[in-house]
Symmetry: C2
Subunit: 417 residues, 2 copies
C-alpha cells in the first residue's frame, strides 16, 4: 500500500498514544497509580513543558493565552481561516487518574501527528488546546480556561481567585508562563470553525453496552444546593428525645423525602448527597447543625426546573422543628451538541467499523463553553467500570486509539483536505 | 439568734457561692461566656491553685494523689475515721460552661465553709475532692481520676495516655503537681465512709417540673457503637443510581430503621447519632464510606441488652449492597445509688422546705466509680433549659445555694456531729 492512500485513521499509532499517556502520567504521579496534577502547579507546568516539547519536535507552533490555555497549531493552507479546534485539559483532581482530560489532549496530538505522518495538508489550521484548570480543585470553579475563552466569565474575576494557600490565579499563571517561554502569548478568545473533544466516558454505559464510541448528544443540566439545618445541641444522655431539635435526624428525614422526590424508573435523574458536615460531630452530643449538599442532574431542562423547584418545600416539610436554609449554588442548563457534528462522529465510527451509541454526558466538560461559539461535539471512549476522579481510573489502549481514529477523521473533514 | 443554734444549711452563703463560681469561670474563660478548661492544662492548674488558696485560707489541708485528684480536708474529731467525701471536677469541655463539675466542687467548699463558720465539729473528717479529668476531652476516657481512685482502671495505663499533641497524662501531671506545691502527695485510693456529689442536672426535667432538688436514683446504662459503611465512590454526574453503592444513603436507611427500633412512647430511651463522617465528602462524588456513631442509654439493663443486641442486624438489613462493620466501643451498665443516701437527701430537702423529685442521671459522673466503694449519692439542681456542655450553660444562684444547703446537712449527718 502506498503511504498517501492510507487514511488518517490508519496512521493513528496505538503504541505511541499509549506511551504518551503513560509518560504524561509521570507528572504528578501518586504512589497508588493515580495522578495529582492540579492546575498551574509545578506538576502541571512540567506536563505543559512535555506537550510543548512533543509539539515543537514536529514543527507545530505553540502559544498560550492570558488565562493559561495552551495551544498547539498545525498550519493549514489558508492562514486566515478559522481553525478547527480539538483538545481537553492536562490538570487532574487531587486524587485523579491518568486519562480524564489528558486523553483528549493526547488524542488531539496523535491526530496532528497522524496527519503529519501522512503529509496531509488541510485548508483550515487545526489547533490542539489544553484548557487551563478544568477540574477546579485548586482554583474553583472548574472549566476556567474555556469559560474565559468563551466569554462566560471575566478574566479579571478569574485572575483574582485564590487557592487554599492564598496564591492567586494571576500569580500562579505568571510562574507558569515564565516556565514555558516556547509558547508566546496570544489573544484570549476567538471563534473556531468547530470544536471536537475526545474524553473517557467517566461512566459505565459504554462498557456495559460493549460499545467503543460514544456519540455525545449533549451535557445534562445540573443544580447544586446547600441545605443548612439548624437545631440545638444537647447532651446525648440527658435530653429526652421529645425535647430535641436534632439537626442530623431532621437532615436524614429530608434526604429520605428527597429520594422519594427524585425517584425515577428510567434511572435518568442523578441525585447525590455528597457532602454532609455535622456540628459538633461528637458521639455524645445531639447535633446542633448539619450542612449537606445536593447535586442533581438531568438532560431535560423542564425536569430540572420541576425537581429543583420542589427541593426547598420538601426540606421544610421534614424539618422536625429545626431551622432550614436552602440555597442554590449552581444552576447549569443542559446543552445539546451540534447535530451535524454528532452525525459526522456517528458516520465516521461506522465507516471505521466501530460500535457506537448516542450518549448524554453526565459530567461537565470544556465543550460546554465552546458550544455557543461554534459547532461542537464530543467523542467518548469507555473507561473501566465507569470509574473516574479516582486513582484507579483505567482505559484500554485499543479504545483510546479507536477514539483518536474517529477524531482525526472528523477533524480532517471539518478542516477540509 | 445565737450563732450555734443556726443549722448549717442556714450558714450557706448564696452570694459567696455564686461569686466563687464566677471567679472560677475566669480560668479558661471563653469570649462567648463559656469555659475551656481542659484537664491538666494551664487553665486547670490555675483553677486548682485558686481552690488551694481558698482552702488554705480557712486552714483546710490540701493533698493530691498520683492521678491528680486534689483533696481538701476538714479534720474530724476522730482522725482515724474514714472521711465522708464530696466533690466533683474542675475540668470542662472545650466549649463548656461555668457549672458542670465546678458547681459540685464549689458547693462542697461552701459546705466546709458553712461548718467552719458555725464552728461545728464532726466525728469523721469531711473531704472535698476535685476529680482529675472527668470530661475526657483532652485525655480520653473521662472520669479518669475517680476510675483510678476506685480501682476501675490501672494507673500506669492512664499515665501513658496522650493528648492530640502527644503529651502524656504523666507529663501533664508532673507539670500540674509542680505548680501546686501546697498540696503534698497522698496515697491513691481509699474507702470513704460515704460519697455525695452535687451537680447541675444537665437535662430539662427539674426545670420543667419546677423542682429545685433532684434526688438521683442512679446513672443510666449506655452503649456506644461505631458503624462503618463501605460503598464505592462514583461520579455524581455519570453513575446511574441503580449501579451505585452509596454509603451515605445506606447509612441514612440504617439510621431511619434504628429510630424505629429505639422508638419508645415513655421517652426513656436516649438514642443519638452524634458523629457522621463522610468520605470523600465532596458535592459531586457519591460517598464511598461513612462512619457514624450510636450512643444509646436506658436505666434498665435488660432493655439495654435487647436494643444493643438488635443494632447490628438492623444495620445489615439496610445496607443497600454496602459492606457494614458494627463495633461496640462502650458498654456501661446502669448503676443504682444507695437507698439510704437517697432517703437522706429526700428527707433533708423536705425539712428545708425544698421541692424535690427522684431522677435518674442521664450523664455519667465520678459518683459511678465511688458507688462500689461506699454508700454514694448525688444531688441535682436545675440548669437553664437543660443545656450543658455548652458555653450558655446556666443556673440560678438560688438553686445552687439550695443544693449546697441540702449537701451540707447530709454531709453533717454522715460525718456525725
Amino acid at each position: 500500500m502506498l503511504r498517501n492512500v492510507k487514511r488518517p485513521a490508519d496512521a493513528i499509532d496505538e503504541q505511541r498514544l499509549w506511551r504518551r499517556q503513560m509518560e504524561l502520567a509521570r507528572f504528578g504521579a501518586r504512589p497508588d497509580g493515580g495522578v495529582n496534577r492540579q492546575a498551574l502547579s509545578a506538576e502541571d507546568i512540567a506536563a505543559r513543558r512535555q506537550l510543548i516539547a512533543w509539539a515543537t519536535a514536529r514543527g507545530f507552533a505553540c502559544s498560550v493565552d492570558s488565562i493559561g490555555n495552551l495551544f498547539v497549531r498545525r498550519a493549514g493552507r489558508n492562514p486566515d481561516a478559522a481553525p478547527v479546534l480539538t483538545g481537553s485539559h492536562l490538570d487532574s483532581q487531587p486524587a485523579g487518574g491518568k486519562f480524564d482530560g489528558a486523553y483528549g489532549v493526547m488524542a488531539g496530538l496523535e491526530a496532528l501527528e497522524a496527519l503529519e505522518d501522512l503529509g496531509i495538508s488541510t485548508e483550515r489550521p487545526i489547533e490542539l488546546v489544553a484548557w487551563c484548570n478544568e477540574e477546579g480543585g485548586r482554583f474553583p470553579p472548574g472549566a476556567m480556561g474555556s469559560a474565559a475563552y468563551g466569554g462566560a466569565q471575566k478574566l479579571d474575576d478569574l485572575l483574582a481567585i485564590r487557592d487554599w494557600e492564598g496564591v492567586t490565579v494571576e500569580a500562579a499563571l505568571r510562574t507558569t508562563l515564565a516556565a514555558t517561554p516556547e509558547a508566546p502569548l496570544r489573544t484570549l478568545g476567538g471563534k473556531p470553525a468547530a470544536y471536537v473533544e475526545a474524553h473517557i466516558e467517566q461512566g459505565p454505559l459504554l462498557e456495559a453496552a460493549r460499545t467503543t464510541i460514544g456519540v455525545v448528544t449533549g451535557i445534562q443540566g445540573a443544580q447544586w444546593y446547600h441545605v443548612e439545618v439548624i437545631g440545638s445541641e444537647a447532651h446525648a444522655g440527658t435530653a429526652p428525645l421529645k425535647t430535641r431539635r436534632d439537626a442530623l435526624k431532621a437532615a436524614m428525614a429530608m434526604i429520605a423525602a428527597l429520594e422519594q422526590l427524585m425517584a425515577d424508573e428510567t434511572d435518568t435523574v442523578r441525585f447525590t448527597v455528597g457532602r454532609f458536615d455535622v456540628t459538633p460531630n461528637s458521639t455524645n452530643t445531639v447535633p446542633g447543625r448539619v450542612l449537606f449538599t445536593i447535586d442533581f442532574r438531568h438532560p431535560d431542562a423542564a425536569v430540572l426546573a420541576r425537581l429543583g423547584g420542589a427541593i426547598e418545600g420538601v426540606c421544610r416539610a421534614h424539618a422536625r422543628g429545626c431551622e432550614v436554609h436552602v440555597s442554590k449554588t449552581l444552576d447549569m442548563s443542559p446543552i445539546r451538541f451540534d447535530a451535524a457534528i454528532q452525525q459526522r462522529i456517528d458516520f465516521t465510527a461506522g465507516e471505521l467499523g466501530l460500535s457506537r451509541m448516542a450518549i448524554a454526558s453526565g459530567a461537565f466538560h470544556d465543550a460546554k463553553y465552546m458550544n455557543p461559539l461554534c459547532p461542537s461535539g464530543m467523542i467518548f471512549v469507555p473507561c473501566e467500570k465507569g470509574i473516574s476522579h479516582n486513582p484507579v481510573e483505567n482505559a484500554t489502549a485499543g479504545d483510546l486509539a479507536a477514539g483518536a481514529r474517529v477524531l482525526v477523521e472528523v477533524l480532517l473533514q471539518l478542516a477540509g483536505q
